[in-house]
């Protein structure tokens, strides 16, 4: 297998049980470098669970997740983050009581080299690094138009801005694969147009993106490839146009007249 054909991320019949509930079942998914992939499906379909499996928050009951061909399932979240697989959360998880800048500094954790001892002793090299970190954080904030609020408390900002701060924090960690969990939730129209541009801009920098999203404007405009899941199983996959016209997808969203079909799907 040469490098071009090895997918960046591959889920190989991945499944997970919660007690008796099969939340994700036999899921196969292959993501190419540079793509923007949409993961859609009705509420409770298991989309966020898939993200939790990829990022190591949950360990799959069966199946394997591979990153550049190497199995990563079962690794703790921080080891997966070290492979530059980074995520945002459906319910924004910013650090409260800390400024926007301090939140983005968290994203630079892996870019920071100072030892704990040099920090405690405040050695000159450590102080220089702290300065440099702040500078590069400010650059990221400027890119996302957040520089003016760098010193405000992150969790007291409006919802849409908090989403952007979380995105900035994740970008500061230099992702190769960026996982966005409902990035448009709670955004107004102009903010979501802005989001489309941001996502495409991120892709243009060579970052691969997977996103879960209900806002079809976002999904249809930014994704190259869409995977639809329902009841933890993949029911369709293809380009935005194919998915738009796929009867099974329409049925999953709108519900069928016959309940038995739902079980079958």
């Amino acid at each position: 297998m040469n490098d071009n054909s090895t997918p960046l991320l591959q889920l190989d019949s991945v499944g997970i049980n919660f007690g008796g509930l099969r939340a994700v079942d036999d899921l196969n998914l292959s993501i190419k470098k540079g793509d923007v992939v949409g993961l859609i499906g009705p509420n409770g379909a298991g989309k966020t669970t898939v993200f939790n499996l990829i990022t190591g928050v949950y360990k799959p009951t069966d199946g394997v997740i591979r990153w550049k061909g190497e199995p990563i399932s079962g690794l703790p979240p921080y080891r997966i983050a070290q492979r530059r697989i980074l995520r945002t959360f459906q319910t924004i998880r910013l650090f409260s009581g800390m400024s926007v800048l301090e939140n983005v500094l968290a994203g630079q954790h892996m870019e920071t080299h100072q030892t704990w001892l040099s920090g405690l002793l405040s050695l000159p090299k450590q102080r220089r690094e702290e300065k440099a970190l702040r500078k590069s954080c400010m650059e990221i904030l400027e890119q996302l138009d957040l520089a003016s609020i760098a010193h405000e408390e992150a969790t007291s900002l409006p919802y849409g801005i908090q989403r952007r701060v979380e995105m900035a924090r994740t970008l500061a960690a230099k992702p190769e694969l960026l996982i966005l969990d409902e990035p448009a939730a709670g955004l107004n129209d102009s903010e979501s147009v802005e989001l489309n541009k941001t996502i495409l801009g991120i892709r243009d920098q060579g970052v691969t993106v997977i996103l879960v999203e209900h806002d079809m404007n976002v999904v249809m405009n930014v994704t190259d490839h869409i995977c639809v899941i329902n009841f933890g199983r993949k029911i369709a996959e293809g380009g935005p146009e194919d998915i738009r016209n796929n009867p099974q997808v329409i049925e999953a969203y709108l519900g069928s007249d016959d309940d038995d079909d739902e079980e079958a799907a």
Binding site: F18, T48, N52, V57, F89
Partner: protein, 301 residues
């Protein structure tokens, strides 16, 4: 083998007392997610009040009458239940929405206050309980000495636990208690007066605790102001072993811990008995932090 059965009988007695006290910890934790550090001291308060009632109504050297003993239990239960409710209203309720640690420190403060209050009111010395509060006849069965006090303590504890179990599982108000433990907000939306439920838990728990404390005094024939700490901690460990928040778990945990302590003290080392108990606790926390009957809860992400 006789020693084994003897330790078993002793362990069962102590275990049922632990279980009585453990119920108070587990009910409060179940609803408020708060370790009520003062609970052990409430139990001790029960022992001292009971002792005071008995000694003040009984002539020196005479055995207390049945009525005096019953009165002692009733007064102890009433006073301690009132103390429990006062504790909830003054030290815990105002902190319902504060950071969890504020309530923890308030509970630790309440424990210090009660323990040292008991010392200031009664005595810093160990007080002796008179003989014959409960009938004390020895029965020898196959070399094992069973005392009627032991039998009574175990029997009454079991009856009380059964009553509580039925109350919580078979009555309407019991359902409200269980619902509040699962989800306070949802319970409130269903029209349950959660504050009333919490007050009731601060009546039931301390009431059972007072009986447990009085049993300790009667069984060991002594009480000292700071014993709430070690009995309270053992009862709390019992609650964790059974699965904190789980009422049958507290009963099971109490009995198991009583037996374990008794056997560990008898067979391994009595000087290290408490350390062994704590080692067991840490082991359980590492292997199965939710206890024997507790349910595992996945964190919602």
């Amino acid at each position: 083998m006789e020693i084994f059965f003897q330790q078993l009988a002793n362990g069962l007695t102590v275990g049922s007392i632990y279980a009585l006290i453990a119920l108070g910890y587990t009910m409060v934790y179940g609803i408020l997610k708060l370790i009520n550090f003062a609970h052990g001291d409430l139990a001790v308060l029960g022992a001292f009040i009971g002792l005071t009632v008995i000694t003040s109504l009984t002539g020196a050297g005479a055995a207390p009458s049945h009525w005096v003993v019953i009165l002692a239990f009733v007064v102890a239960v009433l006073v301690v239940a009132i103390a429990g409710v006062l504790l909830e209203l003054t030290a815990y309720r105002p902190l319902r929405h504060a950071h969890r640690l504020s309530a923890v420190v308030s509970a630790l403060g309440a424990s210090m206050l009660l323990e040292n209050g008991i010392m200031l009111i009664w005595s810093p010395q160990t007080l002796t309980f008179p003989e014959g509060i409960l009938p004390s006849t020895n029965y020898v069965i196959g070399g094992v000495v069973l005392n009627s006090t032991q039998i009574l303590i175990v029997a009454i504890s079991f009856l009380l636990m059964l009553a509580l179990y039925l109350y919580v599982n078979k009555t309407r108000f019991g359902t409200a208690i269980r619902a509040s433990a699962i989800d306070q907000d949802a319970a409130r939306l269903m029209g349950i007066n959660v504050n009333r439920v919490i007050v009731s838990v601060f009546i039931l728990g301390p009431a059972l605790g007072a009986i447990g404390g009085l049993f300790i005094g009667i069984y060991y024939r002594q009480a000292v102001f700071d014993m709430g700490w070690i009995y309270g901690l053992n009862a709390f460990i019992a609650a964790i072993i059974g699965g904190i928040g789980n009422i049958p778990g507290a009963m099971l945990g109490g009995l198991l811990l009583g037996l374990f302590n008794s056997l560990a003290g008898g067979y391994i080392s009595s000087t290290w008995q408490e350390a062994i108990t704590f080692a067991l606790l840490i082991l359980i926390l590492l292997v199965r932090p939710t206890g024997i009957l507790g349910e595992r809860v996945a964190e919602k992400v």
